[in-house]
Amino acid sequence: MSEATVLYQDRESKASFAEPEGDELWLTLAELKAVSGWELKPEGVCKDEICVPVPDHQPWTRLTDDRSEKLFNLSQFARHIGQPFAHDDANAVWYFGPAGWEWKDRLASRQAPDFALPDLFGKMHTLSELRGKKVFLLFWASW
């Protein structure tokens, strides 16, 4: 058992019961939900309106050594949903990116992705609030 920092898209969480084994990140079911928002239900692994059915051979769960608790392999689930991930063992930090349905075939409709970002004063602005105007959007950086 060791503590890991998990960066799951917009969330940053600490998982105290994480059991990393090489590329595999095993979490308790409670931590799975806290870290990623996914929950293991009878119909599958679910978050918001999406449920991913669990394959018959149950590759994502196992029991702890004392058989008292179920653990979930977030890495194997990530592979299944086309989600990239990377980990830094020196600092026990894991990063999980967007699921396949978020990055595949994106931008096919030419519709600019909506977003919400703060300005220097912390006020949030979205692209959708500018609908009805032409928008010149410029990305830049200080370097």
Partner: protein, 203 residues
Amino acid sequence: MGEELKGQNLEVVTVAADAKGPDAAEAFIGTSKHPSLIDDKLQVAEMFDARNVPAAFWIDESGRMVRANDPVYAQRRNRETGEVSINNQYLDAVRDWVVNGGRSVHVMDSERLSSRLPALEPDDVLAAAHFHLGTYLALHGHADDAVVHFKRAHALRPENWTYKRQASSLGDIERDYGATFQEALKDPASGPFYPPLDLEGRG
């Protein structure tokens, strides 16, 4: 430019795609009147596949992109004098779009737009994962440990200059990446730093 064209229904929005966030941006944004946004996790830049900056996108009234990933200094401010130099050719193109809308010759057809916004592949998102992990480590006091992840991102996506430039701003480029890397960053002519600016939209 924003002020000139605002009366004609054009909104200029700048996004600082910079992990150093508000501190770095503040020095440059100054007293601009347009929305100047901060994308310190570089997630929005990634959604638009802005592989290097500056990258400009034109979005029409219905939210559709009509130009994508233009590598352009439409407006550059001299750091010492504060003087602003403007790429007039590009500004004229923007003015043309404001006046002519969808009929402007600068509006990109589907083929051109697709070439500026290629479909993502697993290696693209894996490179991004390592890049984001490296950025997080560097910003949390582990710049040395970040290097291996930046290098992985560079190896997976060598044409992505955002990954290289951000890594160099967060570390010691000569020590971590070698002198040749440093030279390449300083000399845009040494590689495809920016795609050529092509103002045509069709044909």
